[in-house]
């Protein structure tokens, strides 16, 4: 041996054997990672059942059913008359069809080989399946950054990291389920195209970009990340033919392809969000042209020419974009975009965006919750990238900076941060392992006194520990093969002895173990709840299922006419459509602010004001969520202020937020509640007959922790139709116009046998006198 080693390594292995073994180990490790990724996402199915989760997935599921039963063209042209009643929704033109198309293809493919699988099961298991692919794509991506061992680590991280699991558990049938895979693979293909200057990989990147565009609105992230990377490379003076070929083929093919998605249409050439990509494309052409000119003219001429042309073209391009924006050819930035820069913007101008909890700024603990020790390794990994700073490392650095910012602004964008954290952390971690597993010792050291027999078992045991340790032998083998090879340079720095190595490696392994522990715990306890079904613990520790939502939705399905229109706050639109199969006024596709504000107005007005609105929209039932009885905090009274705010945005004269607070500015529902609050339809529906439930005792709202007035509100224009077991869902029926043309309030008091005051003759008679 040329150098001293800390422990004995087998010396007589042929390089082929090492390569074969390491590739086998890699395959096995990837397979295990995939299995772990899928398995950990099945908590939801095991703890509850195979059910679609949350809100948006219900729409995706419903759309997929249409696709599976009626074929692609019917789906493409699907106009849904039951959503946004009576406006309807052109579903084919307002969705990203990638998710449904994916499920449809899988469904038909399985059918073609005579495997009839229920479309629901495909939908439920799509996200776990794609998480395995994400792990693979991350492996490929990280491999380009460092090496296979880092790739395997990154794959393992992304496979089980809660930040990604939160969006991809079984049943979470949402666009993000496939989008992260597409994101990582597009980036991989882009890096590959950049490294090799291959038009083929540029086109692959474009095709996956197209798939991404078809699948998720977050494609704008790629649309801006790749140009940003290209621009950074240009500014760093790293322009090359490879960059030109890779970027041009990606942009040209990708943009043309993305315009085929109806929902996107001409946006890539008409909106500001896409202008960066176009601008960088133009810049690359100019630079390429300049390079061409430079190779033909003398350098002095060229400098003058370059100076004039760059300035001229730059001015021309900027003026062009500004002018076109001014003329309205290019849409200015949208509000959603502004809300990324100014976190207070949405609250001021677009309450509908601010009202979504996942659009709130991220709290610090959630970084740890979602990423655990990766968040510590993340900066280290980014710094590692600086050490080599190849073109692809610039990409990771930019990605890290941009995604960190966005993740801080919106909880939801934690998802885009997660992959780069996994990549960077894997780079850092694998560098650590490389350093400490390297058996070479610095030259000056006296021959190692370590006993090889103790080192070998520790190595094998760590290999057995699981997939994360799997890369270690491969790396080691390579290092050893390097060491045993012709290379003979002496190392000046390094690690001495075995004890240091063991200490650090064991510590690192401990971190990994805790990471797995943490991920499993978070996944099972926090991210696997379908939110359609709630779970609570009985006193004896057993699970108690609260199934009010489905109870109520099935009641609607079975007891109301098929065309009965249900009004609810938009959060529940998709679920009502999916589970109760009834037309809804508004749903989670919040495309029409005025329509939502109309519902908000109806909810926050008095019965007399709300009734004409309800009748005009043919509303038969009003559905509300009320958590006061069992303490379900996500109920409509807690969301009520958003309804008020959104309604106020459209009718500032009729709805005013301050009226809903007590005189001291508190949001209360007890005796001190303001009169406007007490008269609002939402308050009345929520607490209708609530006090009766307590049989004379003081009624207490468990969410607000306030005492409810003993004489509850009365309803004249609505009838209570259904209240679920735990009162979470309450459904009210809207009364028809009175038979005798009276207003329903007096009709109601007549029905209750109250004596009407003897009315005086109408003024018409008096006018004659």
């Amino acid at each position: 041996m040329a150098t001293t080693t800390a422990y004995q390594v087998p010396a007589n292995l042929s390089p082929t054997a090492i390569a074969n073994t390491s590739s086998l180990l890699r395959i096995v490790a990837l397979a295990l990672i995939s299995a772990a990724a899928i398995a950990s996402r099945l908590f939801a199915v095991i703890n509850f059942e195979s059910i679609i989760h949350e809100f948006d997935p219900w729409f995706n599921y419903r759309a997929t059913k249409v696709l599976a039963s009626e074929g692609f063209y019917a789906f493409w042209n699907w106009f849904d008359p039951t959503a946004w009643y009576p406006l309807g929704r052109v579903v084919g033109g307002t969705i990203y069809p990638g998710l449904m198309a994916t499920s449809g293809v899988i469904f038909y493919a399985l059918k073609a080989i005579n495997l009839p699988v229920d479309i629901r099961n495909i939908c439920v298991l799509l996200a776990p399946g794609f998480s395995a692919l994400t792990a693979w794509a991350t492996y490929m991506f990280t491999k380009e950054m460092k090496d296979e061992s880092a790739g395997l680590l990154a794959a393992a991280f992304i496979g089980i990291v809660p930040g990604y699991i939160s969006r991809s558990v079984a049943g979470s049938y949402d666009n993000e389920a496939i989008a992260i895979f597409l994101l990582m693979f597009t980036f991989y293909a882009w890096i590959k195209a950049l490294k090799t200057g291959s038009a083929f990989f540029g086109t692959v990147a474009a095709l996956f970009y197209f798939y991404m565009v078809a699948a998720w609105g977050g494609y704008a992230f790629i649309t801006n990340m790749i140009p940003l990377h290209a621009l950074a490379l240009i500014l760093m003076g790293r322009y090359s033919g490879r960059l030109y070929v890779g970027y041009s083929s990606w942009y040209a093919v990708g943009t043309l392809a993305s315009m085929q998605v109806p929902f996107v249409g001409f946006q890539p050439v008409r909106t500001s969000e896409h202008m960066a990509a176009l601008g960088v494309f133009g810049l690359l052409q100019i630079i390429a042209f300049a390079e061409l000119v430079r190779s033909h003219v003398s350098s002095k001429q060229f400098r003058a020419l370059l100076f004039a042309s760059v300035i001229g073209l730059g001015l021309l391009g900027t003026a062009g974009i500004v002018g076109m924006t001014y003329k309205g050819w290019i849409a200015p930035w949208t509000g959603r975009f502004y809300s990324l820069w100014d976190t207070g913007y949405a609250k001021k101008y677009i309450p509908i965006i601010a009202s979504v909890s996942e659009h709130q700024p991220t709290a610090w603990p959630s970084f740890f919750m979602d990423l655990q020790f990766l968040i510590f390794l993340f900066p280290a990994g980014v710094i590692m990238c600086f050490r080599q700073l190849r073109d692809e490392h610039v990409f990771v650095i930019i990605y890290a900076i941009v995604a960190s910012y966005f993740a801080g602004v919106m909880v939801r964008l934690m998802l885009t941060l997660t992959p780069v954290v996994c990549v960077a952390a894997a780079i850092a971690f694998s560098t650590l392992l490389d350093t400490y597993l390297n058996p070479e010792q610095p030259e000056e050291e006296t021959p190692s006194a370590a006993v090889p027999s103790t080192a070998a078992p520790s190595e094998t045991s760590s290999a057995k520990k699981g997939k994360k340790a799997a890369p270690a032998p491969a790396t080691l083998a390579e290092l050893v093969s390097n060491a045993t090879g012709p290379e003979s340079t002496k190392r000046k720095t390094g690690i001495f002895g075995l004890d240091t190595r063991l200490l650090v490696i064991l510590n690192a392994l401990g971190m990994l173990v805790f990471f797995v522990w943490h991920c499993t715990w978070v996944t099972s306890s926090a991210y696997s709840s379908p939110s359609v079904v709630l779970a609570s613990a009985n006193p004896d520790g057993s699970q108690h299922i609260i199934d009010d939502f489905r109870e109520a939705y099935y009641w609607l399905r079975q007891n109301t006419p098929e065309d009965a229109v249900v009004m609810s706050w938009w959060d529940y639109g998709y679920q009502i459509a999916g589970m109760a199969d009834r037309p809804t006024l508004v749903d989670n596709n919040t495309w029409n602010n005025t329509h939502i504000a109309t519902v908000g107005k109806a909810m926050s007005s008095t019965e007399e004001v709300a009734y004409p609105i309800l009748r005009k929209h043919d509303v038969d039932y009003v559905l509300i969520i009320f958590g006061g009885l069992i303490g379900y905090s996500g109920d409509d009274i807690n969301k009520f202020l958003w309804m008020v705010r959104i309604a106020q945005g459209v009718w500032p004269d009729e709805i005013q937020e301050p009226n809903y607070f007590t005189r001291t500015g508190e949001y209360k529902i007890d005796d001190q509640a303001s009169q406007t609050m007490k008269d609002s339809l939402m308050y009345k529906m929520s607490y209708y007959r609530f006090a009766e439930l307590f049989g004379g005792q003081q009624a207490v709202d468990r969410v607000r922790g306030q005492q409810v007035p003993k004489t509850g509100p009365t309803l004249d224009y609505l009838d209570e139709a259904f209240t679920s077991e735990n009162w979470i869902v309450r459904i009210f029926q809207v009364k028809k116009e009175d038979l005798l043309g009276r207003d329903l309030k007096s009709a109601n008091s007549f029905d209750q046998g109250k004596k009407k005051k003897r009315s005086k003759p109408s003024s018409r008679r008096r006018a004659i006198l």
Partner: protein
Amino acid sequence: MWAKCTGDSVLVILEPKLQKDSFSKFFSGLEEKGYELTFRSPKDVKPAVIEYDEAKFSHVILFAPESKSFAQDVTPQSLVTLLSKHTNLLIALSPRQTPFTSLAAEFSLTLPPPGTPLISHFPTRNEPATVIPVSVAPSDILSPGLSPVWFSGVPFAYQNNPLLVPILNAPAESFASDSESDLGADALVDATDKGGEGLWAGSQLGLVAGFQALGGARATWVGGVELFSDEFFQKDLPGGGKPGNEQFASDVAAWTFQESLALRIDRVEHHRVNETVPGQTYTTNDQVVFTAYISRFNPVKSTWEPYSGIEDLQLEFTMLDPHIRTALPPVRGAPGKYSVTFRAPDRHGVFKFIIDYKRKGLTHLHSSTVVPLVPPRHDGYPRFLSAAWPYYVGAISTSVGFLLFSALWLAGDDRASAKKSTKTE
């Protein structure tokens, strides 16, 4: 036997004070028309008007203007319930206050204070001032050319309710008062002024009023039950001649029991022009044909007959607001058929074909048919627009240019490079 429009079972709740015989002409007139009359007194428990949540009779005549107590199943509330179950009501009032005085208010009729009958001293006659001959204004409900009718009872004021159908109004010189003597005229004016209600007087007061409930049932309020009595049927008018009471009572009963002026929409159809099958959905800008078939009840033949007599029928094509409101004229040569062709608006959404025809005295016609109006299919748009020629030319020229370039490049490569190489060398 004549089968009636909504059924022929009639319950007559008759006060014991009123003799059945004294209304024999009215009742036998109904029986001649084919109604099956069942009598019971207000306090009888049987037969119940509503049993197991179902109305037991098609029509109810409440001739109990002075009864104060009723069996449990006859309350103001139960009568309204009856209306909602499509039972028609004919209710007689009197100057005395009964449970049904308050019910009148629910029908937008205001009664004067208790004990104030209608009084008129004109024309001069032998009868007391409370027995008044009232001339009948022509109305669709009544037969044309009716003689004045005898009336005795309480007037009421109409409130502002479009569902009310005045049938008989008080004479202009009549008034309501609790004192029948002429001496107290000034006191009367004083008293009414104090009450703040003004004088209960004049032709604005109603005596017989119909009410067209939204569910389709009809109710008629009559100020005095004597109007239907044999005595009033025969009593000569002051100027001589028979009164119109008999015919008037028969007409009022016919209207109340939905014999006359009863319309219905048999069915509605809609389809695209040049098609016959109704569309599940329509595309924006389609030419759509809408047809309604309307019948009217013929009491003589007791059948529904196609009816083309409505000239002001309208059709609305509505999404939140009417996007199209157009006349729905009768089709010549096709009785009962009303049809219109129109272009669907250029706006997708869930639209409704709405017929909403409400006229006083006539049955309300209401029909609402929901139909989604969808944007064109992806292949439903026009192809090869002339406006798109620049793009076609661009695409074609780029393709041709690429082909030419490739051909030239491939074909000319060798020679060019050879030339170049020779030149440089």
